[in-house]
Symmetry: C2
Subunit: 145 residues, 2 copies
């Protein structure tokens, strides 16, 4: 092992390896993202960090997300809420079925779109980034009403 920091498969470890400075703000942002069960918004990350470190500013959250996105460590998803949500890239992918009537969102396994990905690549030479795709429509509940 090389460092006595967090293990290298964590976001913290990756940033460290790449030579970025590990500030307390960054560590708290990374921790919030990794702890999060679902996709998390900048505002939600901010709430968690500010609880422990009231001095922090939300622009730091955005700047950190920009960095992580650029490094491919997090993926953005737009669920049509007027704000973006983030998810660690390594955490496994899935898609979202967003009901436009009740607003509920359900997860859809990655495999459901593998046929589509194949055909886009084969027929169009297009390499689709289908991580965390959002599909809008009406859920079974609302459809039946």
């Amino acid at each position: 092992m090389s460092h006595n920091h967090t293990h290298a498969d964590s976001l913290t470890g990756k940033l460290d390896e790449l030579g970025y400075r590990m500030t307390p703000q960054r560590m708290m942002v990374l921790s919030a993202i990794e702890k999060s069960k679902h996709h998390i918004s900048a505002e939600e990350i901010y709430s968690q960090v500010v609880a422990k470190y009231p001095h922090v500013n939300i622009s730091t959250i955005y700047r950190t997300m920009e960095l992580l996105k650029g490094l491919g460590l997090v993926t953005e998803t737009d669920l049509g809420e007027g704000r973006v949500r983030y998810h660690p890239s390594g955490k496994g992918h899935h898609h979202h079925l967003v009901c436009q009537e009740c607003g509920e969102t359900a997860d859809l396994d990655e495999s459901a779109l593998s046929a589509l990905k194949e055909s886009l690549l084969h027929d169009y030479g297009f390499s689709a980034d289908l991580r965390h795709l959002a599909i809008f429509g009406r859920c079974a509940k609302c459809k039946g009403k």
Copy 2:
């Protein structure tokens, strides 16, 4: 035939039939949308209208789009540009392959997603609204570079 207005299969005709007032602003907005080859943004509609009618305000464009959306006469698409684009609902649907590298967008026929639509309905009871879906990724050109 009922009126001597524009024929009833145009957006103008539809609004008229439904009892909405036909103001010059609305007519110019509708014309811009119908003439447009591709999906059009509020700003682009505004540019066209303001050229003929300098008095118009962009809030009128947004209010008209809100109305048309509510009536199901136009469909919104978010191509990830930070602004929404509009398209007449009757003009036929298709999807978009948006290259995240060069920004180019290609059209994809509706039929390419019919299998997906089927399986979402069958497996999840989810009625997907796949009009003008945007799929992000890398186009053949950028992939090869």
